[in-house]
């Protein structure tokens, strides 16, 4: 049973990411989208939490939302995979369930 977790809130505004990282289990997938993509950037104060999670969970970020915010995919944390909407659909299909942390 694999679950895709989606986080669409900035970690500097809401605790959605923290809740997601706390409750999600090893082997799951986490997609950062909308303001959630800020958590994918290097040098923030949630970087270590994201990196810790990446030891047992696969983290993705929605490319169009990185671009919309004027951020660069060159500055995301190593190991985070950037996907587009087609990739988002594929992740929703390949995982058994989708849980949105709103």
């Amino acid at each position: 049973m694999s679950i895709l977790h989606t986080v669409n809130k900035s970690p500097f505004e809401k605790n959605s990411l923290d809740e997601c990282l706390t409750h999600s289990t090893d082997g799951c997938a986490i997609l950062l989208l909308e303001d959630g993509v800020y958590a994918a950037m290097q040098g923030t104060n949630v970087e270590s939490a994201v990196k810790d999670a990446m030891a047992s969970k696969k983290v993705y970020a929605l490319g169009p939302d990185i671009k919309l915010r004027g951020l660069s995919t060159d500055r995301i944390i190593d190991g985070i995979e950037v996907v587009d909407f087609a990739g988002f659909v594929d992740l929703s299909e390949s995982n058994d369930k989708v849980q949105a942390w709103l």
Partner: protein, 130 residues
């Protein structure tokens, strides 16, 4: 694969209805089925046909309507959320004694049971919003 979509956020509020739109469009382009799009909470505002954004901005309501027409999407607006927010169709106007309607014909007003049914019947329920 069969997807059901739930939208909890109004248009031009943040980004959820845009994300939901692009996800739905992408899923349809990939050959998946979208069995229902359910508009809940402030999401009901996505169905107002009198929405008039600036000309250089996306028209979120018409965009949904066009996608629905192209793919025969069932777009359902929660009745209780709609009543609270003044989103009205002919039936609701008559039932509640209102002098106007504002829902776009691409949408229909129905109950929460439609969300439950969609969630049960679809392979995945995708939730967008706050």
């Amino acid at each position: 694969m069969k997807f059901a979509i739930q939208i909890n956020e109004g248009p031009y509020q943040h980004q959820a209805t845009d994300t939901a739109y692009h996800f739905t469009k992408s899923a349809l382009e990939k050959g998946h089925e979208v069995s229902r799009v359910f508009f809940y909470h402030d999401g009901v505002y996505n169905s107002s046909r009198i929405t008039t954004p600036p000309q250089d901005d996306r028209h979120i309501v018409n965009r949904w309507a066009e996608l629905a027409e192209a793919h025969s999407l069932d777009m359902v607006v929660c009745v209780a959320a709609a009543q609270r927010r003044g989103v009205v169709d002919d039936g609701e106007a008559e039932r509640n004694g209102k002098d106007a309607t504002n829902i776009h014909p691409a949408f229909r007003i129905s109950g929460l049971g439609q969300l439950i049914e969609a969630a049960v019947e679809a392979d995945r329920l995708m939730v967008f919003g706050d």
